[in-house]
Amino acid sequence: MNVRTLRRFVALLLGLAVAPVASAQDSRIPFKLDPASTAAINAVLDSAVAMGIPTAPLREKVYEGMGKGADGPRIVAAVRTLAADMARAHRALGTVATTDEIKAGASAMHAGVSAVELGQMKKQGGLRRSLTLPFTVLADIVSRGVPVRTAANAIRSLVGAGAKDQDINDFQKKVKDDIDSGAPPAAAVETRAKGAVNEKPKPESPDTTIRLDF
């Protein structure tokens, strides 16, 4: 076997090796779905990439649909809805938003919260404050029957008062318990939000600062 023959042989093997890898990589959904649905979902994924929207939540939605035994068209519809919600959340939250914030924001929008509300909360929270949990709790309390405006005001007041994720988690649990006990959802949220904001320790005034003079 001379050098030229060997080169051709290796090039042929490389070509054969790369072809299946390339086609497998092109299949962006690793689990089996009917061809029409796969094509539709791939188109949504391509659009998401072009718009700068994270695609991982869209893939997760596909797996969720398959895991729950939904048919292809229903999965495609859910993925399209999620992509649209994420696109609106992404626009509302700006480029500083993380994938998790966009995902949680899309979930809140799905529950009925407006893009304007999300954008206002992001501005109020500041660049460093992750709003992933506040958006998640917002979606939860809206799904429990709290009017969107009431729920958004409550979460905004908590974020504005500097409530940490743990505080907002506690708030959600108390609201849920109140509603489960028969309280009207709006009243439960308003009451618990007031309590949570009042519980927040106020920053110390300069007069109370202890000075250590040595």
Binding site: R7, Y63, T136
Partner: protein
């Protein structure tokens, strides 16, 4: 004393690095000139056994690529935190946990909970971030976690819960 001497920093003259790199570049240029493109193959060209071994290696690498591409991959390397999932279901015969962190149980990836007198629980590392999950009771009944926030986007008629895992390293 010998140890102390060995621990002393080695002092090299300033031109040492430059001289080494000149030698390395010269050796590389000579090697490339004598062998040409894909020259390394000429060393094995006359040994059919080597050629067959190379071909086997190429095919093996290709197979691994296909298997990897079939496996679901996560974007980024998120930090995982141990999360315990608990469901009180005294009459259940089996409980498992599925969510976006295990591809919703596709490919036998569901987390199987263990029973402690009707309290079913399982712990698993979950990447930092926001997740959605549910319990599957007796292999068919989907149940949201009663102690967790609801996931609002229930597109498939089965409830899910939301979970936010904080990045413990931040």
């Amino acid at each position: 004393m010998l140890v102390d001497e060995l621990r002393q920093p080695v002092r090299l003259d300033e031109s040492f690095d430059r001289r080494v790199m000149v030698r390395v570049r010269r050796a590389f240029a000579e090697q490339r000139k004598s062998r040409g493109w894909f020259g390394a193959a000429s060393a094995v060209a006359h040994h059919p056994a080597w050629a067959a071994a190379m071909a086997a290696c190429v095919v093996a690498v290709a197979s691994v690529g296909v298997l990897r591409s079939r496996a679901p991959q996560r974007s980024g390397a998120a930090v995982a935190e141990a999360v315990q999932f608990v469901l009180v279901a005294p009459s259940a015969e089996s409980v498992s946990v599925v969510g976006d962190f295990n591809n919703w149980g596709l490919g036998d990836s569901a987390l199987v909970a263990t029973n402690h007198e009707g309290v079913w629980s399982v712990s698993a590392p979950v990447p930092a971030g926001v997740h959605r999950y549910a319990f599957v009771v007796n292999g068919k009944q989907w149940v949201a976690d009663p102690s967790a926030p609801r996931a609002s986007d229930d597109d498939f008629g089965m409830p899910s819960s939301a979970l936010v895992v904080e990045d413990g390293t931040k």
